[in-house]
Symmetry: C2
């Protein structure tokens, strides 16, 4: 059973249409008089973070990637629960956690600590309060919508390479991703679909395309200014950038700090096309 089959089996047992989290990056449910948004990400050593990476950076990233999922919903963070496998340098993990929680004014609500052998794993559940109804989802993109990107891509890739190769280049984009919370809340009332890019622009664009039954037509010349020089192809396929990807009416780029990178079209043979053609190779990072 591979990951897709597993998720599909899980979806089959989700008995309610409220169980949107399985098809999306966050679950959205009505609770009391408000809308609760929940998201969970697990990170594994050597898979999501480099072996031997500073636990303060791991803690930052663990929380930030979940807050980024909330950003994709235009939600305001409330708190997090953390699952931590005890190890060495736990004081650095606490330090990083304190930093990220204070930076984004998020409560530490609880969690669990465990012991384990082998690769260490950390989990984070974040809860947030939706600021706009309906909550943006992946399935609302319509032919004619413009496609926008909320920031630069490929810089986490450069950061990863710098950290892996121990060079002096800036590795902060990989170590300390910045969730676009304010932008997400500003965009929520205006977008037809929105998500954060965690697994690569092309792959995550294909997720919006598949959920919305449309094709996303992206243009290289529009993306290029947002990516590192000479690395555009890699940048579009690398994850970890955590910038917002959304679709919506023309002109959003005049109101908000987003860049138009293409156009939604009627569903074609491929979910994503790049300068009119199916992109070559892997669309992004699957893990």
């Amino acid at each position: 059973m591979n990951e897709a089959e597993f998720i599909s089996a899980l979806r089959a047992i989700a008995t309610s249409p409220q169980a949107r989290g399985l098809a999306d990056d966050a679950a959205v449910i009505e609770f009391g008089s408000e809308t609760l948004v929940l998201t969970h990400d697990t990170m594994v050593e050597s898979v999501h973070v480099l072996e031997g990476q500073d636990p303060a950076d791991i803690a930052w990233k663990l929380v930030a990637v979940n807050l980024s999922d909330l950003a994709g919903k235009g939600a305001e963070p409330v708190g997090v629960l953390i699952s931590h496998m005890l190890g060495s340098d736990d004081h650095r993990l606490v330090a990083g956690l304190k930093e990220v929680l204070e930076t984004y004014d998020v409560l530490l609500l609880g969690g669990d600590t465990v012991r384990g052998d082998g690769a260490r794993a950390w989990g984070c559940t974040a809860i947030g309060r939706a600021c706009h109804s309906p909550v943006p989802a992946r399935d609302g993109a319509r032919p004619g919508d413009a496609i926008y990107l909320g920031g630069r891509i490929g810089f986490a890739m450069l950061g990863f390479e710098a950290l892996r190769d121990d060079t002096d280049d800036d590795d902060s984009a990989y170590r300390r991703p910045v969730p676009q919370l304010a932008l997400g809340r500003d965009l929520a009332p205006h977008v037809s679909a929105m998500m954060d890019i965690s697994d690569g622009l092309l792959l995550d664009a294909s997720r919006i395309a598949n959920a919305s039954s449309v094709t996303l037509a992206i243009e290289r010349t529009l993306v290029a200014p947002l990516a590192p020089e000479d690395r555009l192809e890699d940048a579009m396929r690398w994850g970890d950038d955590y910038v917002l990807l959304c679709t919506g009416p023309a002109g959003l780029d005049a109101q908000f700090p987003v860049t138009r990178i293409g156009q939604v079209t009627a569903k074609g043979a491929d979910p994503v096309i790049l300068d009119g053609e199916c992109p070559e190779g892997n669309l992004g990072y699957t893990h």
Copy 2:
């Protein structure tokens, strides 16, 4: 940094009194017009479940132990998010998950799947709706209160031994714990403190005692009928039973299916005393 130091460091960064989950088995926050209860447990192969155990039982237990935390708060479950490390027999995990979610009418809201080496780990975050305010906590026990137990203890221990030694004895109490959700909701308006026993009667009783600044005086003759014959001492120190432990006024055992096992007294030298003396050896299971 050991677990206690780590949790204490975490508590130091929890900036709000709402961050009760760190000192308790669940976080309680106001959300919308209602009270949200959140809990997270992570289980690790060979630590919380036996190596090679049926993934259907793992899934059941993963969800049930979180629902048991909600039971301790008198909360009604809403949904869960699951973190799963992909492996073999994932279809069995899905089957067990379906069974436990249907049994307790709980939504599968989302989660994450990851790949990892070494011992596998699974996480579950459960959210619930508090049914009574104030939500029962650990810190409300007062001298003069009676101590009650919501069911039998030590049978998960027998189940563990049966499964480990591959005997024909009943292992269901270990494999398929039953969260006392209805009992927790019934008791919530009447108790002064409540929690579910996950790490052993004596250890969890000491947690109520410490949180409430009292001593819990337990009597062997009152506990003995609830434990396997000849195994009383082990049963009081073994975890995984997931029955409710609470304190409150005399007479609750006439109204509800609970058994009185002792009395809360003013704080003495020890948090828990057994027939008037400090219990010998470990109080319970720490992990």
